[in-house]
């Protein structure tokens, strides 16, 4: 399988995720955009790992870590969003900013 396939998919996902972060009005959905970007990274890492057949499994290990980090981030992020919502009664980015 050409290496480029996963890499290009990753590029596309990254771009879409970025768009989501920058364009979604809802704070929770912005977080989803970040998740997409991280997934794009994971795709890359796994693809390269598979390509190198890395003895240390660096790519996959980092992928696992990334997934964990993403989970931690989203946990903290959701806590913040909930706190925001309780404080401001909105999770609309424009509303939060005001």
């Amino acid at each position: 399988m050409p290496l480029l396939y996963p890499l290009l998919l990753s590029s596309a996902l990254f771009g879409i995720g970025l768009y989501g972060v920058l364009a979604r009005r809802n704070a929770v959905l912005m977080l989803l955009g970040v998740e997409l970007m991280l997934n794009a990274v994971n795709l890359n890492l796994v693809a390269f790992d598979a390509w190198f057949a890395d003895q240390l499994h660096t790519g996959q290990v980092l992928t696992l870590f990334t997934i964990a980090i993403a989970a931690a981030e989203i946990g903290l992020g959701l806590a913040i969003v909930l706190a925001l919502f309780r404080a401001l009664r909105t999770v609309d980015v424009d509303g939060v900013g005001r």
Binding site: L18, V21, L22, A23, M30, V93, D94, V96, G97, R98
Partner: protein
């Protein structure tokens, strides 16, 4: 103590002591042979840094000038006790005169060019202060400012000349810097620079207009500074520096041309003046030009002789003018006349003075003018640095000037001393402190002629010319002419003053205003622009700081894109 300080005689005594010391110093030098003492000993070609060691040194001609200066100075000081003694600022006036004399002695009595320069400029300062003595009046202020500006700007020529001499000869000592046997280097440069300085100081064309405008100064000062000594110092300097540029045809020709123009112009202007003081001022300009003509003709000795004689009789005339002003309260010709009876001393002494001005035997004026004319005539042979043609022209102009001089001297004599007395005039003789100096100077007018050379041919010619001038005026006077000629161009002094009175100040003012505007609006743009840009930047950054997270993320992402592009492009 205070009363002593107030006493007028303190200053006279001070001046007298100064005069005495100077005389004791100078008189032995009078009889020394020679004219310049040559002691060529160049010390190397990197001149030292300037010092002001006095380095006193006199040769006969300078000894004469020292004596003239202190003598006239003493007389003026005495004269002033009566003329200005009542003035509340007499003290400063008298002190400045003393300072002036010291400066004059410094100029004449040193071989250190820097001391010379200091004296030269201090004289200018004293002149400025004294012209502006009556600083309440606008005329005096303007005249003083003009005199100071013109002379000081011209003095830059002297500064440069000294620098050039230093660089050329490796020393700033006049004796050390004397050129070896005709090996004058940078002659033209030095000559022209000296010329600039002396033209300014001696009020020669085209920097002549300050001297007539300096007449608002107290009359005794005019006699001392603006007739006898300071303005004459220009001639002295030109003569003293002559060895440096004696080879330079350019410099000498320039001097000759200037002298020619000035002497005729001054005489013509003197002819049409309606104010005695101003007329005498123009006369001074003209006479100084005559001296320069002698220097240009490479006969500085004749020029300096005339300097001394002129100093004496012009001081006499000015002091006499002061007596008249004392009597009638103004220096306008129209207010004078019929002075023989009320003011006999003034009348006779001034008559002698006018005679000397016109060049009548046996006054000193005759002999020294004779020497000058002789010098010019000998220069026509063209064996000096001056071309024969130039010398001829100069000679002819000098003869014409003699004619005009005799004419205006006669005219002034007639109008001020004889003529009908204006109505209501209650003239009376001046006090002894004023008439005394007149008498002394009148005697000196004859005394100076002792030992002067006499040139037969020229003597006769000049006598004839003088007689013609006098006769012409007398004839017209007899015919009932008022002698009030005023052809418009001459009365306006040919508009030669216009550049100095109008154009230069206005131009300077305009440029200066422009500079201030530019300073504020153009030069200051970069700091203000910077500040404005910073302020704008702050505001712009505040806009970015919208508290909207999404915009932050956008900035961040865009920044990354830019950085990546930069990284890719440059790598």
């Amino acid at each position: 103590m205070r009363s002593v300080l107030r006493s007028h005689w303190l200053y006279v005594a001070l001046t007298a002591v100064l005069a005495l010391v100077a005389a004791i110093w100078a008189v032995p030098h009078l009889s020394e042979p020679g004219w310049f003492a040559y002691a060529p000993d160049p010390t190397g070609f990197t001149p030292p840094l300037p010092t002001l060691s006095p380095d006193l040194f006199l040769f006969p001609a300078s000894a004469q000038i020292v004596l003239l200066a202190v003598g006239v100075g003493l007389l003026v000081q005495i004269y002033s006790t009566a003329y200005l003694g009542h003035h509340q600022r007499y003290r400063s006036y008298a002190m400045v005169i003393v300072l002036f004399l010291v400066a004059m002695i410094a100029v004449v009595g040193t071989t250190n060019l820097w001391v010379l320069l200091v004296g030269w400029e201090v004289m200018g300062l004293c002149s400025y202060l004294l012209i502006g003595h009556e600083w309440e009046t606008g005329e005096a202020r303007a005249g003083a400012a003009k005199a100071f500006l013109v002379t000081r700007i011209a003095d830059l020529g002297l500064v440069l000349a000294i620098l050039v001499i230093g660089e050329t000869y490796g020393t700033y000592d006049l004796l050390g810097a004397q050129p070896l046997d005709g090996e004058a280097k940078n002659a033209t440069a030095i000559g022209l620079l000296v010329l600039v300085a002396v033209v300014g100081k001696s009020a020669q064309f085209p920097l002549h207009s300050w001297l007539p405008d300096a007449m608002p100064g107290p009359t005794p000062i005019t006699a001392l500074i603006h007739a006898a000594t300071m303005v004459a110092a220009g001639v002295y300097l030109a003569a003293r520096m002559l060895p440096f540029y004696a080879d330079s045809t350019v410099a000498l020709t320039a001097m000759a041309v200037i002298a020619g123009i000035t002497m005729l112009m001054g005489a013509l202007f003197a002819l049409v003046q309606t104010d005695l003081k101003r007329a005498l001022a123009w006369s001074t300009v003209s006479q100084l030009a005559l001296m320069f003509a002698a220097v240009a003709a490479s006969d500085p000795e004749a020029g300096l002789d005339h300097l001394v004689a002129h100093g004496v009789f012009k001081a006499l005339l000015f002091l006499g003018c002061g007596c008249l002003m004392h009597a009638v309260g103004t220096s306008a010709l129209s207010a004078m006349g019929g002075m023989r009876r009320p003011m006999p001393v003034t009348f006779w002494t001034m008559t002698i003075g006018f005679a000397a001005l016109a060049g009548i035997v046996p006054t000193a004026g005759f002999f020294t003018k004779d020497s000058v004319l002789h010098a010019l005539e000998s220069a026509t042979e063209g064996d000096g640095a001056l071309a024969g043609g130039t010398a001829w022209a100069l000679f002819v102009v000098a003869l014409i000037t003699s004619l005009v001089t005799a004419a205006y001297a006669t005219r002034l004599w007639l109008k001020t001393l004889l003529g009908p007395a204006p109505g209501g005039l209650d003239a009376h003789e001046a006090p002894l402190a004023m008439t005394g100096p007149l008498v002394v100077l009148a005697v000196a007018t004859f005394a100076v002629s002792i030992g002067q050379p006499f040139h037969h041919g020229i003597g006769v010619v000049s006598t004839v010319i003088a007689a013609a001038g006098i006769g012409l005026v007398l004839l017209m006077w007899r015919r009932g002419s008022s002698l009030d000629w005023a052809p418009a161009p001459l009365a306006a002094e040919l508009g030669l003053d216009r550049p100095f009175s109008r154009w230069v100040p206005r131009l300077t003012g305009d440029v200066a205003s422009a500079v201030v505007d530019l300073d504020r609006d153009a030069v200051d743009v970069y700091p203000r622009g910077g500040a404005a840009a910073a302020a704008l930047g702050t505001r712009g950054l505040a806009l970015v700081q919208s508290r909207n997270v999404q915009r932050y993320a956008t900035v961040l992402a865009a920044g990354v894109v830019v950085l990546v592009v930069v990284g890719v492009v440059v790598s």
